[in-house]
C-alpha cells in the first residue's frame, strides 16, 4: 500500500504539472526535496547521537531498567507479546514521555532505538511484529501536552490567546489515540485467529 501511495503521489504530481504547463517545477522540487532529505538526516544524526549517548548513560546506570520496572506493567498491557524484562520497554517509555512533553527531537532517537530492540525480538525480520505496530500506533497519535511549535506560529500571527488550542488539541489527540489503540487491538486479534 505504501508503494502504491508513493507512486500515486509522484505520478499525479507529474501529470498535473504537465497539464498545467509547469513541468519544470517537478525537476526543481524533486532535486530540492532530495537535498532536504540529506539536511534532515544530518540534523537528525546530531540530535540522535546526543540522545543515544545520554540513553547509554541512563542504561548503564540502571535508570532505564528502573523506569521499565515502574511503568512497565502499564505499558505491557498494550504490548502483551513483550517479555517483562524486554529492553524495548525502556526505549518505548522514553519515546512516549518525550512525545508527551513535546520534545519532538528527542522522541525520534528513542523511537528508533525502541524499533531496534523490538526487531531483536521479532521472529520474522522483514515483517512488522504486532508490538511494533502497536508502538507506531501509539507514537503517531500520541498526546502532546504543549504543542509548542503551533503556539509559536499563533503568537507570531498576533493571536489574542495563543494557547487556547491546547485543550482542543489534547481532546482531538485523545480521540485519535483511543481509536488507534482499539483498532490495533481488533486487527491484532483478527489476524492471529
Amino acid at each position: 500500500m505504501v508503494n502504491l501511495i508513493w507512486l500515486i503521489m509522484l505520478a499525479t504530481g507529474i501529470i498535473v504539472a504537465a497539464f498545467t504547463g509547469r513541468i519544470e517545477t517537478v525537476t526543481t522540487s524533486a532535486m530540492k526535496a532530495a537535498e532536504l532529505g540529506v539536511e534532515v538526516a544530518i540534523e537528525l544524526i546530531g540530535v540522535m547521537s546526543l540522545w543515544l549517548g545520554l540513553m547509554r548513560l541512563a542504561e548503564e546506570a540502571g535508570f532505564i531498567r528502573l523506569l521499565a520496572r515502574v511503568f512497565g506493567p502499564v505499558i505491557r498491557k498494550l504490548f502483551p507479546s513483550l517479555k517483562p524484562e524486554s529492553p524495548a520497554l525502556g526505549a518505548i517509555i522514553m519515546n512516549l514521555s518525550a512525545n508527551i512533553l513535546g520534545l519532538g527531537n528527542a522522541a525520534t532517537p528513542f523511537g528508533l532505538k525502541a524499533m531496534q530492540e523490538l526487531q531483536k525480538e521479532n521472529p520474522n525480520p522483514e515483517v512488522a511484529s504486532p508490538a511494533m505496530i502497536t508502538f507506531l500506533a501509539l507514537n503517531t497519535s500520541c498526546i502532546t501536552l504543549i504543542p509548542a511549535t503551533i503556539i509559536g506560529v499563533r503568537l507570531k500571527a498576533n493571536s489574542l490567546n495563543p494557547t487556547e488550542i491546547i485543550g482542543t488539541t489534547i481532546f482531538a489527540t485523545g480521540c485519535a489515540m483511543t481509536i488507534g489503540i482499539i483498532a490495533d487491538f481488533i486487527f491484532r486479534h483478527r489476524r492471529s485467529q
Binding site: A33, E126, T169
Partner: protein, 178 residues
C-alpha cells in the same frame, strides 16, 4: 498551563544534568559511555536517509505541482455533503498533508493561520489539527525502514484511521468550544 510550559522548558537541561551526574555517582565512565552510545546515532541516521529522501521527493512533487490543491478541490463536495460550513474546505489541503509530511503540514498550517487569522475558525482548526496527530507516513516509512521491515501489515490502516478520527474530532471540538 504554566506549570506544563515550565516542565517543557526545563526538561532537557535537567536531563542533561541529572543523567550524567547520577551515572557518575554510580561509577559509570560517563564520557566514554556517552561516546559509545552516540556512535549509533550516525549509523541510524545513514540508514534512514534513503527513506527520508524517497518520501520527501514524492511529497514535494505532489504539493508543488498543484496536485494537492486539485485533490482538495475534488474532496470539497464531501465536506458539503456532511453539511459542514463551506468555509471549512480551506482546511482540506492541511488534512491531506498532515499524515504525509510534518514540515509540509506546518507550512500549510502557518499559511492558513496567517491568512485567516489565528483566532478565526480556520485558524483555530488548523492549529488543533496540526497538533493533533503525527505524520503517520513518515513515521512508518522511517521507523520500519531503519530496521529493515518491508511488510507493514495493518500498521498503515491503524495510523490512517487514527488520523481520520483526529480530523473529525478536531472539527467537532473546535465548533463546540469556540
Amino acid at each position: 498551563m504554566n506549570i506544563i510550559a515550565e516542565i517543557s522548558r526545563w526538561a532537557i537541561p535537567l536531563l542533561l544534568l541529572l543523567i550524567p551526574l547520577l551515572a557518575y555517582l554510580r561509577k559509570v565512565p560517563v564520557y566514554e559511555s556517552f561516546v559509545a552510545g552516540a556512535e549509533d546515532g550516525f549509523k541510524t541516521g545513514v540508514r534512514i536517509l534513503p527513506f527520508l529522501i524517497g518520501m520527501l521527493v514524492s511529497i514535494r512533487v505532489f504539493i508543488d505541482s498543484g496536485a494537492l490543491d486539485l485533490l482538495a478541490r475534488l474532496l470539497a463536495p464531501i465536506f458539503n455533503y456532511f453539511g459542514l460550513d463551506p468555509n471549512l474546505t480551506a482546511i482540506i489541503p492541511l488534512a491531506i498533508l498532515r499524515p504525509l509530511s510534518g514540515s509540509g503540514a506546518l507550512g500549510v498550517a502557518t499559511q492558513l493561520i496567517n491568512q485567516y487569522g489565528p483566532d478565526s475558525l480556520i485558524g483555530r482548526l488548523a492549529s488543533t489539527l496540526q497538533g493533533s496527530t503525527d505524520t503517520t507516513f513518515f513515521v512508518l516509512t522511517v521507523y520500519f525502514g531503519s530496521v529493515g521491515i518491508r511488510k507493514y501489515r495493518y500498521a498503515l490502516k491503524v495510523g490512517l484511521l487514527a488520523d481520520l478520527v483526529g480530523l473529525i474530532a478536531s472539527i467537532w471540538i473546535v465548533h463546540r468550544v469556540f
